[in-house]
């Protein structure tokens, strides 16, 4: 029995979430290619340099928020219902959060795209960080609020399913996938409160003219309170896939369930009290708080290091089950021609590289070298742009047959697609990192100036530009291949094929019975997380608001 037969209503909501996610990925990816060609000066015929920022805003919002979070909602809905073996409690409630998120995302997207259409009265060329006092149309902020509230309700839905299950299964350990979903959502509730306060209490009333001014540093600090944990909201579903699906795809089973739980608890504790590492070079924030954020950030590397171990160990176990031998020769026995496996494995490999470039970002005084340069998008195209995005695509290859009842179509395209993405990203990202070292700024339509010459540390600037443009184009090609496979599978199948994949997950080598029960004490971990945040943010936020909530104030400056 396929998942779609066991849970037809839930399969539908998973499908719709994934469909919205992948449509956003398609549009956002097209914008990305336009940017790669434009800023390198290879081709500037798509948009003017002023409209570049509309495209850039669309790229950021559609990919970093809409794509990732809808994909998360699809994957998590599947994981909760599968691992609890029960449907979500109320289809109507489920439809409610999905529609709310969709309406919010559509409002924000239409407002952004309005920047390209002169006759449309609204604009939101504020990038996905929307720093005040640059002001977007109020519809942009309202859309964001609806979207975030929708994600909160989705979390409520998964918690309700868990509580019902708990009623029937007192004393049992929380199934791993549900545990991961709940911990991720707790992290999200704590951290998205920052952006909710920023938008609801400051930016929205300010854009509507209800308050005259806002404090740009305070709103910016609230954004980054949310802005780092949001990257874990992208990554934790990828980890969820690496821990629970990838071992099976490799032909084996998860190495350790207890350590998977430890890793997710560490993310809950450490994801939020680190936001100041995005503000290392901000004035107005004492150095001590930056230092605290730096140490917390470095310790946040630990769960990712542990994940690297468990994921590789699980893959090795799988390869040895398939007859792999030798110190490294087992690598050959992995199913590199299975797109779901290859996508996850290549995503993990790139994440390792992205982790190392992230350590430079995290290095406080080292950050002077690369802050707001092209290094930074070079870094996060390895993390969210590959570790998350390629993993979600890989999961799509495996999940779409199960949520549609159709066999995967265009298998040969699917087989090469993860490699196409990997090659495109290797070209683009290495060049972006090197250009960043030379000081080339990010977020600009034309990083070519009469008065500034950038000295390449490794390689020349024109060679870097070429690699970025070629890499960006190859990435878009990879995206088109992916969309052909996914929507071909969904729309082109008959619905009664016998599937080659199923949702059963083999038990881990070391199961939850080997871990202390305290790991499942979600209240305890949430309380500790809140205390850590109070320590990291209490004093600096107090200092920012003590001179007046809205002071030093700035009136809105419409885009």
């Amino acid at each position: 029995m396929a998942y779609v037969d066991d849970f037809p209503t839930d399969a539908r909501i998973v499908r719709w979430n994934m469909a919205v996610a992948f449509l956003a990925l398609g549009i956002g990816g097209l914008f990305g290619m336009i940017q790669a060609l434009h800023r390198t000066g290879i081709f500037r015929g798509f948009v003017s340099s002023a409209d570049y920022y509309t495209v850039l805003t669309g790229h950021g919002v559609l990919l970093a928020l809409v794509f990732t979070i809808f994909a998360l909602c699809g994957v998590f809905t599947w994981g909760v219902t599968r691992s609890l073996d029960r449907p979500l409690p109320s289809p109507r409630f489920t439809m409610g959060w999905f529609v709310l998120m969709l309406v919010g995302a559509a409002m924000a997207a239409v407002t952004i795209i309005g920047g390209l259409v002169p006759s449309m009265p609204f604009k939101a060329d504020v990038l996905y960080t929307f720093y005040a006092p640059m002001q977007a149309h109020p519809a942009f902020y309202i859309g964001l609020v609806l979207f975030i509230v929708g994600t909160w309700l989705a979390g409520v839905d998964w918690f309700r399913a868990y509580w019902q299950w708990r009623g029937d299964n007192p004393g049992e350990r929380i199934p791993l996938q549900t545990f991961m979903v709940l911990v991720t959502m707790l992290m999200w509730y704590i951290s998205s409160a920052g952006v909710a306060v920023e938008v609801l209490f400051f930016l929205l009333p300010w854009s509507l003219g209800l308050i005259e001014s806002v404090d740009p540093l305070l709103t910016r600090t609230l954004f980054w309170y949310f802005g780092h944990p949001v990257v874990y909201f992208w990554l934790m579903p990828a980890y969820f896939i690496w821990y629970t699906i990838l071992p099976k795809l490799s032909g084996g089973r998860l190495f350790s369930d207890p350590l998977a739980r430890v890793v997710f608890v560490l993310f809950l504790l450490l994801s939020t009290p680190v936001g100041f590492h995005h503000q290392y070079v901000d004035p107005g924030i004492p150095e001590g708080f930056k230092f605290i954020a730096m140490t917390n950030t470095m310790f946040l590397l630990l769960p990712s290091f542990l994940t690297a171990f468990t994921v590789v160990a699980s893959m090795e176990h799988g390869a040895r089950q398939r007859g792999g031998e030798g110190r490294l020769n087992w690598l050959r026995k992995l199913p590199w021609d299975e797109p779901a496996f290859a996508g996850c494995a290549l995503a993990g490999l790139m994440f390792a590289a992205g982790g190392f470039s992230g350590m430079i970002n995290a290095g406080m005084n080292i950050n002077y070298l690369i802050h707001n340069t092209l290094w930074v998008p070079g870094h996060f195209h390895l993390t969210v742009g590959t570790a998350s995005a390629l993993t979600f695509m890989a999961a799509g290859y495996w999940l779409f047959p199960q949520i549609t009842g159709n066999r995967l179509r265009f298998r040969s395209l699917a087989t090469i697609q993860p490699y196409v993405w990997f090659i495109g990203m290797t070209l683009m990202s290495n060049a972006m990192h090197r250009a960043g070292l030379a000081g080339v700024p990010r977020r600009t339509a034309e990083p070519q100036y009469d008065t500034v010459s950038f000295q390449g540390v490794v390689g020349g600037i024109s060679e870097m530009r070429l690699q970025i443009a070629i890499g960006g184009t190859i990435l878009f090609l990879g995206l088109v291949l992916f969309l052909i496979v996914i929507f071909g599978t969904w729309l082109g199948g008959s619905g009664n094929d016998s599937l080659r994949v199923n949702s059963s997950i083999p038990a881990p080598l070391s199961g939850p019975e080997h871990s202390p029960k305290i790991l499942d004490n979600l209240k305890l971990w949430t309380a500790i997380a809140v205390v850590l945040i109070a320590l990291a943010y209490g004093l600096p936020l107090w200092a920012l608001v003590s001179d007046g909530l809205l002071a030093p104030g700035s009136p809105p400056i419409p885009v």
């Binding site: 503000q279 004035p283 150095e287 290091f305 080292i366």
Partner: protein, 167 residues
């Protein structure tokens, strides 16, 4: 809880690496004396910069080899910097005070450690040494509006004996 021996080793090495990173950054702060921009520049009313030392921005000599440079960033230029270069002598210690008259900007002197956010209401203070003559490009590295990519400037470090005052 049972942890595999290799995993214990791996975790120990990972922790060692993390502590090593923290030590490196701490050395940069304490040993090499790399100071982060902080709240020492104070706050300012972005709407009335004219009443402050930003009313007439530019280079001021404050000691034998010490200079202060006040810079206002606004859509889409640096004052001074864009229409005329910022001029300081070689072998000098220069403190920059940078603020914004409108939206958030960036102040990056390409090829140096000068790289700060420029936030309305806040004054970014950063002190650097220029030992040798040279020319540097100044870039606004935070998106600040439709003309963001045109916002740039120049910093010229002139030989000490040729210096005739700032901007």
């Amino acid at each position: 809880m049972e942890i595999h021996r290799y995993e214990k080793i791996w975790t120990a090495v990972a922790l060692l690496l993390i502590v090593g990173f923290i030590a490196t950054v701490t050395y940069g702060t304490v040993g090499a004396g790399v100071k982060m921009v902080d709240d020492s520049g104070g706050t300012v009313d972005a709407g009335s910069l004219g009443d402050t030392e930003f009313g007439d921005p530019g280079v001021t000599q404050v000691g034998e080899n010490q200079y202060e440079v006040h810079v206002v960033a606004r859509q889409f230029l640096f004052q001074p910097g864009t229409t005329s270069p910022i001029r300081v002598p070689a072998n000098s210690e220069v403190t920059f005070y940078v603020t914004s008259a409108d939206v958030v900007h960036g102040f990056e002197v390409a090829g140096t450690n000068i790289n700060v956010m420029v936030i309305p209401g806040q004054v970014a203070e950063i002190t650097v040494r220029f030992d040798d003559p040279g020319q540097y490009g100044i870039v606004c590295h935070e998106y600040c509006g439709a003309g963001h990519h045109t916002m740039a400037g120049q910093l010229v470090v002139v030989p000490e004996d040729e210096y005739e005052g700032g901007s």
